[in-house]
């Protein structure tokens, strides 16, 4: 085990544990205010918990508030944990190259060596042509690349990425994500994100945090395919009905009944989840006849274009339809419609 954290911050209602294996990238997902950034600050040493412990590669980073034990607190600069924030935060008075050389210089490497190293990292993030520029002369994407190089040049044992793509233009985010995928390979890292793509492409494992606690944890692909928390379902873009097993389906706690196929044996009355993709949902103005097992009357709350598709959102569920279908059915917010889903598209499993 490379990294382990248990921490409690009373006034924020924060109390959680994380671990990151050697060479593993852990994604931390969660709604705003769920405690993701608190976790990052604890790991980086920028926030002191009321109690807890953390260790990295067998070295204790902090050990606080345990009766009978003396307190240990390693300051941020001595932790070997580099933090990459949402904003690049390049030092405005230094050139890109000197920004990247900052880490090596700070631990006493000579100027020349540091600059050579910085040059190498700039090449690694495809930003060598910006070496002499000041941060004010860089675009958001360029600056974030250089911030990545700066963090890696400090040779951290653990890299923290706090929503590294959130402040970027949608047009440049994919290229930065590809670059991160390349440089994160084989490194121990924790990435906080809102974006399911980040988790899918960058992380080996995911934890979902809500209200300062871990609510769900597992390998990325598995967790996104079979979410157990409402938040994970939403970010995975899946519909989820949470309730109890009833007959061939799940009776939601809100009364909604969805029929489906059980992926694992779930006993009658047991807590269960029914999950299906928005693309498996058909949208109708009138209840359709035929073999559809699930016909659900809903009211549209929002239409959200997603490429050549439109996501039709209602209070609980969503459906993906084509732009042509939206026009043909004359869909708009407040329109009452019927969602139809084949039972074979609905996966049922234990909550």
């Amino acid at each position: 085990m490379t990294f382990e954290l248990t921490g409690m911050v009373r006034e924020r209602g924060f109390d959680l544990s994380l671990h990151v294996g050697s060479g593993e990238v852990l994604a931390v997902l969660g709604p705003n205010g769920s405690g993701k950034s608190t976790a990052m600050s604890l790991i980086a040493g920028l926030l002191r918990p009321d109690s807890g412990t953390a260790s990295l590669d067998g070295r204790v980073l902090f050990d606080l508030g345990r009766p009978g034990r003396s307190h240990i607190w390693v300051p941020p600069h001595a932790r070997g944990v580099a933090l990459l924030a949402q904003e690049p935060l390049l030092f405005p008075h230094l050139s890109a190259l000197d920004n990247v050389a900052f880490g090596p210089r700070s631990v006493g490497q000579p100027r020349g060596t540091s600059r050579t190293l910085a040059q190498r990292w700039l090449v690694e993030v495809d930003a060598e042509q910006y070496a002499e520029r000041k941060p004010a002369q860089l675009s958001g994407g360029q600056a974030q690349r250089i911030a990545v190089a700066r963090a890696l040049a400090a040779d951290p044992r653990l890299l923290l990425l706090d929503e590294p793509m959130a402040a970027l233009d949608v047009a440049v985010a994919p290229a930065v994500r590809q670059m991160l995928r390349r440089v994160l390979h084989g490194r121990s890292a924790v990435i906080v994100t809102h974006d399911v793509l980040d988790a899918l492409l960058l992380a080996d494992r995911v934890v979902v945090v809500d209200g300062g606690h871990v609510v769900e944890e597992g390998p990325t692909a598995q967790l996104l395919a079979r979410p157990r928390s409402a938040f994970a379902a939403r970010i995975a873009g899946l519909n989820m009905v949470r309730g109890r097993r009833e007959g061939h389906g799940v009776r939601g706690y809100d009364g909604l009944f969805v029929e489906g196929l059980a992926e694992e044996p779930v006993g009658e009355g047991e807590a269960a989840l029914a999950v299906f993709r928005p693309s498996a949902v058909g949208v109708f103005r009138e209840p359709p006849g035929g073999s559809l097992r699930n016909v659900i009357a809903v009211t549209i709350t929002e239409l959200e274009p997603q490429g050549d598709q439109v996501r039709v959102r209602t209070a609980e569920l969503s459906a993906d339809v084509t732009v042509a279908a939206v026009a043909e059915l004359d869909l708009a917010p407040q329109t009452p419609v019927v969602f139809g889903v084949k039972a074979s598209e609905v996966a049922i499993y234990r909550a």
Partner: protein, 262 residues
């Protein structure tokens, strides 16, 4: 906002009071200019006592500015970057000389460092006689000017925020390295503008100086004191010397503006 891209119109009625305010500040200086005896200007400002006063003023103001930087930078850092009990009280006390009449400051200094003051005896044992010396002038100036540097720099530190420093520390930089390579460069314009304000305040210091240091030609009689004395005997010389102070102030502010500091 970039120059020339004003989007919201200014209420027209603001212009009249703005003009009155500007005139009120500029007119007295203009009035003074009309009274300068240009023919004899250099004669008036080059008397022995005038030159001595100008030199003393520049020397002491420079010294007090250096002291303001040496003590003010750490003080601003402590106020902006830490939290502790009584911090608010400390901030209020540090800023007190800004609102205190300088004469009161002078009296306070006298009762601290004067021969019969709180620390006077200690100083006397050490063979140091502070009151009514050039050292006293520098101390009086530092007393009134230090808050300007602290206020200006603390504002700059708060605006810059601690985020760059946090990133620097996670990159492995020790607190001293962070201070030297990140904090100071980030707030350098604020530091320069604070130092300029302190220098200007020191240059104009009168009340605390005359109370604590007295008015000894070449030793404690700075330019403002000289002007005040000359006004009684030779009004023309007083006006000419005043103009010299105005020029020095304009040069200082122009220098600072040129560096983008204020």
């Amino acid at each position: 906002m970039t120059r020339g891209s004003r989007q919201v119109g200014l209420p027209a009625w603001l212009i009249a009071p703005a003009a009155v305010g500007a005139l009120f500040l500029v007119l007295p200086l203009a009035a003074m200019l009309t009274r300068v005896e240009w023919g004899n200007f250099f004669g008036l400002i080059s008397s022995d006592s005038s030159v001595a006063a100008l030199k003393l003023s520049l020397r002491t103001s420079s010294a007090s500015t250096v002291l303001c930087v040496l003590f003010g930078v750490p003080l601003a850092m402590v106020l902006a970057r830490t939290t502790f009990r009584g911090q608010q009280l400390l901030r209020s006390l540090v800023l007190l000389p800004l609102v205190l009449p300088p004469v009161v400051g002078g009296i306070a200094l006298l009762y601290t460092f004067g021969r019969r003051g709180l620390l006077g005896h200690t100083f006397e044992v050490l063979g140091i006689q502070v009151a009514f010396s050039t050292t006293a002038v520098v101390m009086a100036q530092t007393f009134v000017a230090l808050p300007f540097l602290v206020v200006s720099l603390e504002g700059a530190l708060r605006t810059a925020g601690g985020r760059y420093e946090a990133v620097a520390s996670t990159l492995g930089a020790r607190p001293t390295t962070v201070f030297r390579r990140v904090t100071l460069p980030l707030v350098f314009p604020g530091l320069v503008s604070g130092a300029v304000l302190s220098f200007a305040r020191s240059l104009g210091e009168f009340g605390a100086t005359i109370t604590f240091a007295g008015s000894l030609q070449g030793v404690t009689r700075t330019l403002p004191l000289e002007i005040y004395l000359q006004r009684e005997t030779d009004a023309d010389a007083a006006v000419a010397l005043s103009l010299v102070l105005v020029i020095v102030a304009v040069v200082v502010i122009g220098f600072a503006r040129g560096r983008g500091a204020i």
